[in-house]
């Protein structure tokens, strides 16, 4: 959306803020705390001791693959699943025993879940009618909500008459029209095509800014998580693997899992040789090459480690040219032109697989099958402990 539309919506949101809320909460409503929340189904532990503090107005994404516990965690917050142990606290109040309809939480589902027998207006009015709001106010709020999602003329239509993106916006309008302090979103964009997804991401960011609602968003798509969130909660096997702002997760993964799940990376196996300065260490790769990398973890000399390098942090040169001495040789396996860059995969002499992203003009002459020297700055190569599960 253009800057112009953002300007037209802000006075509306000011007006909205001046109106009396039917359920006034504390000034900074929407703080959520999870305290050692656990969920067990028989012998299977779906969520294992998740502790998390979410501030009012924060956009937090639970990121993970299927089975990571992210959806179970969301369903516990919504009230559709009951924690086996631990506490859920919304605005200072324990909500474990509250049924979903008494939590005053908004939720958007992957399948939109608009009521097919109601018009768009009736769908949006539904939560307001349940709250027994006066008819006139319902009409105004529905009109405001339709305007918020830029579909002011679609009120009389039925959900099936709308496109997927439009249905998603109506679902968003319906989930926020009663101004819940907390909005939950369960992979809301996964059913949309790629282009629509990125425009809906923008829409979600704008609406989050406009309403200031706390958002807990669930996705398996790391790009979506990076693009939308104030903070990402990376989940793995029912537990939190890492929590932090997107840039921190991307630049400073604390585990091999984080590095592998968020963004692409080349991972080279080796053993820690010696510390080579503050935050720096040398690593012996499997072919005996010694490379320098940055190290924040406390590791013993000789420990099995992995060096992680992001594809955009590597440069490629033909052997014998002005390549830096610290390079490692790689045979190009595949090369794909992406428009703004060239994506290259290959196999290092060490046996590790490599992913490299370079400028299109630097890729000239580097054909599939040719041997190249890949190099990087020590500061961009991260030493991570090798986990036993990683072999």
């Amino acid at each position: 959306m253009s800057i112009g539309t953002a300007e037209t919506t802000s006075p509306r949101s000011d007006r909205r803020a001046g109106r009396t809320d039917p359920s006034p909460g504390p000034a900074h409503a929407g703080t959520l705390q999870l305290r050692s929340v656990r969920k067990q189904y028989g012998d299977v532990t779906a969520v294992e001791g998740v502790t998390l503090d979410i501030a009012a107005g924060e956009f937090v994404t639970l990121l993970g693959s299927s089975g990571s516990g992210k959806t179970t965690t969301l369903l516990m917050i919504a009230g559709f699943e009951r924690p086996t142990s631990g506490e859920l606290i919304l605005d200072g109040r324990r909500i474990n025993d509250l049924p979903p309809h008494r939590r005053n939480i908004g939720m958007m589902f992957q399948s939109y879940s608009l009521f097919p027998h109601m018009t768009v207006e009736q769908n949006i009015a539904y939560p307001l009618k349940i709250r027994k709001m006066p008819k006139r106010e319902i009409r105004e709020r529905v009109a405001d909500a339709l305007e918020l999602v830029h579909l002011p003329a679609h009120g009389k239509r039925y959900p099936t008459e709308l496109s997927g993106g439009q249905q998603q916006r109506i679902a968003l309008a319906r989930a926020t029209v009663y101004r819940p302090p907390l909005l939950l979103m369960d992979e809301p964009l996964s059913a949309l095509d790629r282009r629509l997804r990125s425009s809906m991401q923008e829409e979600i960011r704008r609406i989050h800014r406009d309403l200031g609602t706390t958002v807990v968003y669930v996705t398996h798509d790391q790009e979506e998580a990076l693009a939308l969130s104030d903070r990402i909660v990376l989940m793995h096997d029912g537990a939190i693997a890492q929590v932090g702002p997107p840039a921190e997760i991307y630049d400073h993964p604390t585990s091999l899992f984080s590095a592998g799940f968020v963004g692409e990376s080349t991972q080279l196996l080796g053993h820690l040789a010696a510390a080579s300065g503050p935050g720096r260490a040398d690593v012996v790769l499997s072919d005996g090459t010694v490379v320098a990398a940055s190290c924040s973890a406390d590791l013993a000399v000789g420990a099995p480690v992995v060096i992680c390098v992001r594809p955009e942090h590597m440069s490629v040169a033909l052997p014998g040219s002005t390549a830096p001495s610290s390079g490692v040789e790689m045979v190009v396996r595949d090369k794909a032109f992406m428009g703004d860059c060239v994506h290259m995969t290959g196999r290092f002499v060490t046996g590790d697989d490599g992913v490299v992203r370079i400028q299109p003009r630097q890729a000239d002459g580097l054909d599939v099958g040719s041997a190249v020297v890949v190099s990087w700055e020590a500061g961009n190569a991260l030493i991570l402990p090798r986990e036993s599960s990683q072999g």
């Binding site: 919504a78 009230g79 559709f80 049924p99 979903p100 309809h101 939590r103 005053n104 939480i105 908004g106 939720m107 589902f109 399948s111 879940s113 009521f115 097919p116 027998h117 539904y126 939560p127 349940i130 709250r131 239509r157 039925y158 959900p159 099936t160 008459e161 319906r174 989930a175 009663y178 939950l184």
Partner: protein, 273 residues
Amino acid sequence: MRGARAKRLVLWVFVCAVAAYLVLPALVVIPMSLNSSPFLQFPPPGFTTEWYTEFFADPLWIRALWLTVRVAVISAVIAVVVGTAVAYALTRRQVPLHRWFDTLFGLPIVVPVVVYGAGAYVLIVALPAGMTVVLLPLAHATLAIPFVVTNVRAALETTDARLELAAQTLGASPLTAFRTVVLPTIAPAVGAGALLAVVLSLDETVVSLFLTDGGTQTMPVRMFASISYELNPLVPVASTVMLGLTASAGIAYLAIRLAARAARRRPRVAASS
């Protein structure tokens, strides 16, 4: 082209023949009910509405007709409430042993109605007199429940279970969510189930024979009893009345189906325009 037309003609003739075979024996009661001969002579020597006048003036026939309608409506209400609840539980809730319940609610279709009627008879003998009006609707409802369950279940299985969850997050209690979101979407199936139940009850004869006595006869029982002793010119009239009742239920059923289909198609038509 000519071959195709000939094929279509043959098909039409065949369809009409089958339809006539199915419907004619039932429709024959209409001219017979107007037969001027009191001995059900065929072909009728002349036509008269005399038997109709007699039928509607006979308090016993009217009582039977009224009882039949009442039993049909009450049994349909029971069947719809129980059947919808069962269908909902079986599709939306994790019911323990749900396969067993599945089979259990299908049993009335399989168990011979005579056996069921005999069982009901044993029950009514054990109960104080005058329980017919209570037991008959219950028995008819039991026979209709499988049909309601099948209909409503099919509708529930094609609607998104998350609609109710969405309604609950929006503030609706589970009951309100069911009433405002689930019920409207399955209403055509519930209506169809209700009408099936009405039709089943209207002509249910076997169980009714076991459960009724001289004082409380439903139409089929009274018709059956009337021709056991003598040729009765009122029986074709009774048949025609029953035919009318069933036909109106059938037409209502069709109307519901068509309305539901139109409602489903309406958005798609509008979207393409």
